[in-house]
Amino acid sequence: MLPGDLKPELFSGYPPEARQLVLDFLGTLKRLPLAFLSGLLREVIDYDFRFPAERKAVEKELSTLSSLSAEQTKDWFHGFAEIQLSPQLEQFDWVNLPAQFVEQLSAHLWTTHQLDAFRKTALAYAEHLRERLPPDAPVVPRLGIAVIGEGVESSPEPLFRKLRPHGAYFRNVQPENGTAHLLEAVAARVNAHPLSYGHWYIDGGQELPHSPAITCVSYKGLEPARTTLLGKIQRETKKAGMGPEALRTIMAQMQPADLGLVSSGDPVLDRFKAKLLTEGSGTQIFSTSFAQWATREALRRAQPVTLLVRFAPRQRQKPMSELLSPSPQAPELDPVGSLMDADMAAYYNWLNQQRLPGSAQSMFVAWFENHNEAVAISPSLPRGTESSAAATLPQLLSWMA
């Protein structure tokens, strides 16, 4: 089947809001090439479980597409239309299984050496969209906070080397109650700018006391779900004929309830948590990978104005088969390796924050927990500088504003 054959009844399996959205724009969807449409439907089918920023983005994208003339549509999508698909792909149930279709499309693009062409045309499309839909500035400049190095006496290597050129490096930060101060600062921003999923706290270990108005995800909090998932993986891989791609498909179809995630009354956040574990790589076994990926996904999807992430020591490397096997014993930790992981992850957090609208006004601070080192990036602070002035973390935040 091709997009031109789409009919309303084909979408009866979609959640209610997603189905309505499709019906509102069915005429537009029928004009789009399959190589593009599958990716769009992958977003639309989860519309009911998307964050507000994502819902708004897909609504605006569909409205924009529906406003294009026939000539503009041709201009925007000729590259996608030239992608050669196989008959098997065209016969696939891409309406109801768009994510699985996109996976198979990816394999097809690599195999047929069309990946570069697809990539080029996807970039051109993103540029068209950006020109037509200038991003909305956030209601308040974004603030990103990364706390790294829990449990490390001293760093074996200089920290924040990738971040320092972009901001001011402070070598005499007063560490007392630092994490509590930072969480208070997040809470203050929640009170000043109450936004749905606008303020996040992600912890790579056990979450610390925090305002209930903050959206929180923690590695420790998801331990039962991780254990359930690893058990399921072990069982699936023992089945005959199971390969990595089939396993990946099974994992992508898992719902929060499949992982034993007790409903929090927030199906959007429950779905987000489940995807961190079923779609992330290494998030099931290494807390540093979990914290980095959770931060990346929260920024990309929810576009919060405040995000604090605190990294905790991950378990020491073991054979992958052991890492993936649930064990009742407390794992041996690797604090120093985790510090290196988190140092790089903090840089990635900043990069991901800078991809969001309002980046010129965004602020970011990374702090070596319970130590004197921090780097702060803000339009108000000189780049590539160092300061040995004594400062508390609240003072540092005030200088950034």
Partner: protein
């Protein structure tokens, strides 16, 4: 599975609005220039492009006695963790010991599928293979080992592959109709041997780490795989000695190098292919483990070079090639997640380097003209005296 394939999410850019367009060609060129500038200033190497025309090398070794060792600097490593200024601390052996003795190619492009098995198969055939990265399948085009053995009438003992995971068990020979079963290289999978020798004992678990792209998937073995009961006969290594020595090693690649040493001493094959893989732990997202893998691979590469210098069968007549199968995703590509994967197909993940050193190779030369990974096999053919008939690559003239 949790550890995604190279194929996964290649379509992601379409759904990211934050992407900034850039020219892959320009990026690749920039990468090559920065490597060249560094190598020129730090190691005092001459620029190959500055030579009016390549000077033909007189061959110090007859082709019939020449030996070739290929090391894939495996798992994929990026410039910023290797040749860029901030990464050089991770490769002290390459920089301090090997590069000054080598001809270095600063812009080597892989235009194929960026999965480790299929990319290694492409390297070994000189064609961009499209076999399923995760299936136990042979390459579709003839391998370098088949050309070498058939055209030069070499015995099976003269071409070997030592590879990291079970997924590489079919790399030694193709299913091409011009060749057949048993005409390629024998393949040793050290982890497979150790697992058999120790019955998967927990004491050796650190050496039995699975493929990081597919941590839970071990294809069934097939093809011309070396079995445990042949170890004593061929490698002159008892299972007890193997177990005892393995206990003191820290990684799968160290185990591979141990087996390679044994192979070089006992059989001295003329064509030996070693695939390193420790670096690919990056898929788990832990940056420190990725760096640890690079540092170990750097050390092991130098160790193998030293073995070549010290083994009478190899000294003075061996050319060593070291190259990654590909790179990893760039930090600034929003379609990926930086060092963790090689999914995006961006310039950084496709552009790598290659060094050649040893017999017949000029020392201290850098070439920044683009070459492709599929050029390796025809180049080996020209050096050893066989024709890679079905390869789509071209011999690298700077090495001939």
């Amino acid at each position: 599975m949790t550890f995604c394939s190279a194929k996964a999410d290649a379509c992601a850019p379409a759904r990211f609005s934050g992407i900034r367009a850039s020219s892959p060609c320009a990026l690749a060129r920039q990468l090559a220039l920065s490597r060249r500038e560094f190598l020129h200033s730090a190691a005092g190497l001459a620029l190959g492009s500055a030579l009016l025309r390549p000077v033909p090398l007189f061959r110090i070794t007859p082709q019939s006695k020449r030996k070739i060792v290929v090391i894939t600097f495996g798992g994929g490593a990026r410039d910023q963790e290797t040749f860029a200024p901030e990464g050089q601390a991770n490769i002290p052996h390459l920089i301090g010991e090997l590069i000054p003795q080598s001809t270095f190619f600063a812009q080597v492009t892989n235009r194929g599928i960026l999965g480790h098995y299929v990319a290694t198969a492409s390297l070994a055939t000189g064609n961009y293979e499209t076999v399923n990265n995760f299936a136990s399948l042979p390459p579709e085009s003839p391998t370098v080992f088949e050309y070498f053995r058939k055209q030069l009438r070499r015995p099976a003992s003269d071409a070997w592959v030592v590879a990291p995971s079970n997924g590489f068990n079919r790399i030694g020979e193709s299913n091409h109709r011009s060749f057949g079963f048993g005409t390629g290289a024998r393949v040793i999978l050290p982890k497979y041997l150790l697992s058999a020798a120790t019955s998967g004992s927990a004491d050796y678990g650190h050496l039995l780490r699975d493929s990081y792209e597919t941590p839970l998937y071990a294809p069934e073995l097939g093809g011309n795989t070396f079995e445990l009961d042949q170890m004593e006969d061929i490698l002159k290594l008892s299972v007890d000695d193997f177990r005892t020595h393995a206990r003191n090693l820290s990684s799968p690649d160290e185990l591979s190098v141990y087996v390679v040493r044994q192979l070089m001493r006992q059989l001295a094959p003329s064509l030996l292919w070693v695939t390193m893989h420790d670096i690919d732990i990056a898929h788990a997202g832990a940056y420190s483990l990725y760096i640890e893998g690079i540092r170990r691979t750097d050390r092991l590469s130098a160790e193998l070079w030293n073995v070549i210098q010290n083994e009478p069968e190899y000294r003075g007549k061996t050319t060593l090639f070291i190259l990654p199968d590909f790179g990893r995703d760039a930090d600034d590509d929003s379609g990926g997640n930086g060092f963790q994967h090689h999914r995006t197909g961006d310039a950084l993940s496709r552009t790598t380097w290659m060094m050649a050193l040893g017999a017949g190779i000029r020392e201290g030369i850098v070439f920044d003209q683009p070459v492709e990974t599929i050029d390796l096999v025809p180049t080996l053919g020209s050096l050893m005296g066989f024709s890679a008939t079905f390869s789509r690559g071209k011999p690298i003239s700077a090495l001939l």
